[in-house]
Symmetry: C2
Subunit: 418 residues, 2 copies
Amino acid sequence: MSLKQELVQIAKDAQVASRFLLSVSSATKNKILEDMALSLSSGRDKIIRANRKDISEAKKQGLSKAFIDRLTLDRKRIGEMCNSLSEVAKLNDPVGEVIKAWRVPNGLWIHKVRVPIGVIAVIYESRPNVTSDCIGLCFKSGNSVILRGGREALNSNLSIHETLRQVLKKYNIPEGAVNIVATKDRKAINALLKLDNYIDLVIPRGGESLINMVSRVSRIPVIKHYKGICHAYVDDWADLNMAQNICFNAKVQRPGTCNAMEAMLVHKHVAARFLPGMIKQFKKAQVEIRGCPITQKIVKGIKKATAKDYSTEYLDLILSVKVVASLDEAIDHINTYGSCHSDAIITENYENALAFLRRVDSACVYVNASTRFTDGYQFGMGAEIGISTDKLHARGPMSLEELTTYKYMIFGDGQVRK
Amino acid sequence: MSLKQELVQIAKDAQVASRFLLSVSSATKNKILEDMALSLSSGRDKIIRANRKDISEAKKQGLSKAFIDRLTLDRKRIGEMCNSLSEVAKLNDPVGEVIKAWRVPNGLWIHKVRVPIGVIAVIYESRPNVTSDCIGLCFKSGNSVILRGGREALNSNLSIHETLRQVLKKYNIPEGAVNIVATKDRKAINALLKLDNYIDLVIPRGGESLINMVSRVSRIPVIKHYKGICHAYVDDWADLNMAQNICFNAKVQRPGTCNAMEAMLVHKHVAARFLPGMIKQFKKAQVEIRGCPITQKIVKGIKKATAKDYSTEYLDLILSVKVVASLDEAIDHINTYGSCHSDAIITENYENALAFLRRVDSACVYVNASTRFTDGYQFGMGAEIGISTDKLHARGPMSLEELTTYKYMIFGDGQVRK
């Protein structure tokens, strides 16, 4: 079989399995997820052996320490993967929820009902823990999944997949519910993205170039987990102590995450009071500041921020700072340079808070809180498959509900159209 | 300015206007829509003159009578367009609806709020009434719209657009809220579909080849209003009188619509009792029947149905008929040959009804009613911009709510992440 034929077979099997999943009860799904957690735990030594092969190969290739850290599985990490599967078992099953129901004058009873999307492909980096997370979330929400992880994690992923597939087999669930693309051939991604007859959704997770490539090539709808260029805007009506707390947290608490702040905007009326203390605190925490001309005037010895800075996701201890003349300028800046992820205003002014919430075009807009809360767990939604920076079909943290769509079920008693 | 530059300018203006629309109240939007209806009515003679140019050009080109009928505007049709705008004014504004709100343990108050999608492009056939319908629906739901209608209707569309644009101007709404691509150049569509930085959604309406082209080329999310290969399945537990009524209605009441039945499936246990009378009624109504071998055995003189028949949207008085051995076979047939639009079961059996509702993978699934009800008005949703056969982000009839997405608004009082 050619690679293309092989992928078509996987996608067809996934579609057949997705239709089978429609008839599996929540109770059975939960039991299987708990059993998956147990199997992962009891199979951990085998998985760690497979992971060691990947690691030694990665070391040979001279991949970075951070890369190898993300690739590495140990007993603790596998324990976390098990916990994650158990937690997904405990989450509410969104499938079958009646979103709305109403009767129309002729007596038809229309139900808008939550249903699985169908077949979901996830393309992700070399982080083998993502493999079991995606399997858990897609299975619970009634979707078949096709996984294509980073090439460097292939042995680890195959081992995790095989362990979980055995559990499906035990419960007579078609194995097509959980698939892995078992090749390092990069052509597989292109071929997969053409299978819009079988695959309903693609979620790419990873670097900017991967996501751009997937959006360009795919004939399947894509939900992008894109970069996070998050802002905090310190309004002229801000409580400046609170502002300092929130901005520091948003930048420093975990700078490598997509919901960390990359640019801080400060109203000109408070800049002179706010910036010196704030920047001092940042500098103490090793944060490099790049400022606009006014910032450079207020605090000496700061590098200049360029337009490129304003549109860069540093993912690091670097921050651009801009003094703005008004709330309008702040909102325009965010809508121009931001990535529609998470943005915050710090203010005690009611009108400004509402205007910011309404007019900033991002998935998550905060008043008086750190952008770092954009996260499935922090929102109380449980594990997440990603954070969408797209507008359709889901925005922000994507958990079980975001892995569903709806259909109309209409109950009649003989109605015909006049 | 080149065509491409011109389109970029339109798209940029549309994006700016869409941000302005976020601050326009429902009351103002409704007033503007009522005023649009009035202006359309008082400007009808001018519009009809522009329409006549299109018609005479179409006649010169020898376009079909049906085509020219769809293209034609008269006082009655313009009256309907006005009514449609007034009705949209009366519909509930979905923008700002709080879909869900909850508090998390640290006190953050999370609101999931309905917001406009942003900028919507609609590509459609030469039916000028669609121009005002789309403007009305997009404007009410807070979206900017970019219209690209069929080339043959350009004069009519420009005249309608100009009339409605003047109303926006009067109310100081940026005119970029309502745009029309004023060229017959086909390259405009390709160029438009690349502007994913400005346009959030494309809705193509029209023939299969147009929709396929748009899906292939677009870098913007697409919601397809694709073909309707709708089925009715007469179960062995059906009330056969009701079945005959519903099937006749689904096929004959208006065969040219996407929600008309194209294939009828009949359980083998009732085929011999049901088919002779049913087919007789169809033949009386000039319906051409194409049947499977068993159908051909039960009723003589019927043409054979091929696999191609089962996957054809006739939009005409033609029906394929297939006898199936079981409910499972019916469901498999629909999921294989259907177009995920509308499908019905006729049955008195509770289990079979629920299995059909759950397992048929279509936007609208009916028990004991005609598929002809799939329609925004019939569902009580008001005017529709189309009927989605996609799964994301909207399914089935798309009205105002389906032209929105959501964002999270989060109210804090100083929370930082620990």
